[in-house]
């Protein structure tokens, strides 16, 4: 951070870690030392293991869905199975992958390192979060696999509360439990950022990653409990018949949608904000330029977190919500899009006059910008009241949020994982394969989801097990893309673990300038720093006149 000259890319440093010999990975190796660890870096690995597991379960469900949709007749699985598959896919991907992934893996690993702290504020709570997450997740998975849940991840009442005869109670309980993991992580991060910053590390010297993690945590703490209570009401309804959503008692089915989206729309920002943080770290590093408009990007993160709470009703434009409320929600939806647009422009401007290295992580990051832009722009279609009437609940929506969440967030997650992989392991992965994987992901993703925009405009509704034949061509294209996408996901799952054995030892292969790179060993020692770093300048002190490697 205080460094003035950035070392060129690819410089192979004699690792200080090797000289010292001790790091957080080899400090103790027993299973017990991992399962009872309070070290944020080890907890990040625990999360990485759990999350990868859930990600592949969710992906498998997605693949089956796409296979089923190759033909219009719905002949691979029956409709109940299909409904359970997309519910499983949604529940797993949203709550056990997208929401926790970057904050709990990269966030856990990096947050204390980036702010010069020895750990998070409440390390034992941090471990507890992981246990809650994993046990709650396995509980839900058991429910969705054994009994099956067919409500979709949205649990809309009165279908979920009175009509579905599947394992809704178990699944909702599992998601309810996992919510606490999210809340505790968010709380932990917020206190950490407020109270544990290194001397000299003022707010406007924080890396954007920390800003976005902070904004994410704010949403986790304030939105998750509302989801908890609405799921609890469904469980109480199904167990005791309390009928809060029963129309026969004067209950309003829309109440659930209000409460659900009060969480679930901000949750979209829980998913995307950390991705924006990752990209804001990667792009300056490989463009050898400080992030353009640092303050604007930092404040935009907080702006998104706040405005994200004012827009939930845009999921309900055709639901029977009051037209006036719809207008208010539409207006706020456009306002929340402004900070996102600002970020995109700033990332693009960061490249200007840079010295751009198209490494694997950089390709992921640039893919993110492109895919997120398309996802965000199509979000404007959906925020436009009249256009949403036709597009709501069609494949246009499916395509839109997959562009944000898969094209955006998952791409950022993969990019970030590879950017910090050397830091986490002390080993370099295969760059060639990373480039191939990033390109495969980009092509496969667009082939999968772009046709879905067209399907949506054509009027194909979501969650359809069988469909009119006219839509088949686009569905086949989408399914073909899904196979390519699966390859793009599988590649890192092979070459990243392989690097643990065959990768060369590195210290800071990118010449990156964050505190985590410059002030800590690679891999870091148990309490991160030999001595507490003192920060004297702003982040991203990259220079584009450094000599090439």
């Amino acid at each position: 951070m205080s460094t003035t000259a950035s070392p060129p890319l690819g410089r192979r440093l004699d690792t200080r870690a090797a000289a010292a010999g001790r790091n957080y990975l080899n400090e103790s190796t027993s299973l017990r030392s991992w399962l009872l660890t309070t070290d944020h870096k080890r907890i990040a690995w625990l999360y990485l293991a759990s999350i990868t597991f859930f990600f592949f379960i969710g992906s498998l469900a997605a693949l089956l869905i796409r296979l089923e949709l190759i033909t219009p007749a719905g002949d691979l699985v029956d409709s109940d199975t299909y409904n359970k598959l997309f519910s499983l896919h949604g529940i797993i991907m949203v709550w056990f992958f997208l929401v926790p992934s970057i904050p709990t893996t990269l966030g856990n690993f990096l947050l204390p390192l980036m702010i010069g702290a020895r750990d998070v504020a409440f390390p034992r709570l941090n471990l507890l979060s992981w246990y809650i997450y994993t046990l709650g997740g396995l509980f839900t998975l058991t429910a969705t696999l054994a009994g099956g849940v067919d409500t979709g991840w949205t649990f809309y009442t009165p279908y979920s509360s009175m009509f579905s005869n599947t394992a809704v109670v178990m699944a909702a309980t599992g998601v309810f439990v996992v919510g606490f993991s999210s809340i505790l992580t968010g709380l932990n991060f917020m206190v950490t950022v407020h109270k544990l910053r290194a001397p000299g590390l003022t707010w406007f010297r924080l890396p954007i990653m920390v800003w976005t993690l902070y904004a994410t945590s704010l949403i986790m703490v304030l939105a998750t409990p509302v989801l908890s209570i609405s799921l609890l009401l469904i469980v109480l309804e199904r167990v005791f018949g309390i009928g809060i959503f029963d129309p026969a008692l004067g209950g309003d089915p829309l109440l659930f949608q209000h409460l659900f989206w009060f969480y679930s729309h901000p949750a979209v920002y829980i998913m995307i904000l950390p991705g924006m943080g990752v990209v804001s770290e990667i792009i300056p590093c490989f463009a050898r330029r400080p992030l353009f408009g640092y303050r604007a990007v930092a404040l935009a993160s907080l702006g998104i977190a706040l405005f994200g709470f004012l827009v939930w009703g845009h999921h309900m434009f055709v639901s029977g919500q009051s037209l006036y409320a719809g207008a208010v929600f539409s207006l706020f939806s456009f306002l929340v899009a402004v900070p996102s647009a600002i970020k995109v422009f700033n990332w693009t401007a960061t490249l200007y006059q840079g010295r751009i290295h198209l490494t694997g992580p950089m390709l992921y990051a640039l893919s993110f910008v492109g895919l997120f832009t398309l996802g965000g722009l199509t979000g404007l279609f959906l925020a436009t009241l009249a256009l949403d009437v036709h597009l709501h609940d069609t494949y246009f929506v499916t395509a839109h949020f997959h562009y944000i969440m898969v094209g955006g967030m998952v791409t950022a997650y993969f990019g970030g994982l590879q950017f910090w992989w050397p830091k986490m392991t002390g080993r370099m992965y295969s760059e060639i394969w990373a480039v191939i994987a990033a390109i495969t992901l980009f092509i496969g993703f667009n082939l999968t989801f772009f046709p879905q925009y067209l399907l949506g405009i054509a009027g194909m509704p979501r969650r359809y097990h069988s469909y009119p034949e006219a839509f088949q061509l686009l569905h086949v294209a989408s399914s073909a893309g899904a196979v390519l996408l699966a390859v793009g996901y599988l590649l890192p799952a092979i070459y990243l673990p392989a690097s643990l054995r065959w990768g060369r030892r590195v210290d800071n292969p990118w010449g990156a300038l964050g505190l985590e790179w410059t002030a800590a060993d690679t891999p870091p020692i148990k309490h991160n720093f030999h001595q507490t770093p003192v920060v004297t300048g702003p982040p991203y002190g990259y220079r584009n006149d450094a000599e090439p490697a």
Partner: protein, 99 residues
Amino acid sequence: MTSPGTTTPLRHDRQLWLLSAIFLLLQALLLITWGAHYVPLGAFTPVVNFGIAIIKTLLVAIFFMQLRAESGLVRAAAGLGGLWLLILFTLLLADYLTR
């Protein structure tokens, strides 16, 4: 911030006096709410009821929960929940009141 041994006896007496006074005020407010229940106030009933509840909450938070002695950061954290509840209620009512 108070820590053992740093509080003077005078401060101690004042603290006890203050807490007891706040307690009496809270009970008085409770009696007013209860009494108001038997007076037909029409549309003002909820205003009075919840207005008094908010006053009581502020008293408990500021004096019993010692917010007055806390840093601005903790006060902000305390206000956070209230602010977000306001967002939830306002936008929810934006639907229910104009439907």
